[in-house]
Amino acid sequence: MLWGRSSDKKQAAPAASEGPSFEDQLPTLREFLREYNRIAEVCFNDCVNDFTGRTTTTSEISCVNNCLEKFLKVTQR
């Protein structure tokens, strides 16, 4: 839908003036949200290993940001 993924092709062609209906967008939205959960899981597993505190450290935050960017670039490639 947004990052040139293969799910683009599944989306129906929009009607003349209205665009895709909510129901048509649901499967795409569902897949987007599932990917979102997957990104969170992968980046958490790879970046966060220190449980001496409750808050995420700055290095963990930058790691997560980079992880997210890389993840999206992988899907684009």
Binding site: L2, E18, G19, P20, S21, F22, E23, L26, L29, R30, L33, R34, Y36, N37, R38, I39, A40, E41, C43, F44, N45, C47, V48, N49, F51, T52, G53, R54, T55, T56, E60, I61, V64, N65, L68, L72
Partner: protein, 99 residues
Amino acid sequence: MSNELNSNQLQAAGELEIEMMQDLYKRMTTACHKKCVIPRYKDSELTKGESVCIDRCVAKYMDVHDRIGKHLTTMTLQQQPSLQTQQANDPSRVVGSYK
């Protein structure tokens, strides 16, 4: 596309949100179990260290989840300006904080 959702669509959106929260819960418990619970099962009770670790793990996981959500929302809006008016009218229900 109209900004108003009828009750069927609202219900579908709510069911989707619940489904995603279940998915989130499953991934989070798997991740925190792996990170915090030592695979030596001499005792059935969680140690104090494991309990504290799980507590912190959940807090961090939700924080990571929220940050990624905000980042993705920002990127989505940048790529599709037509969504910005929708966002202003109906702040994301489905992609957002679960607190």
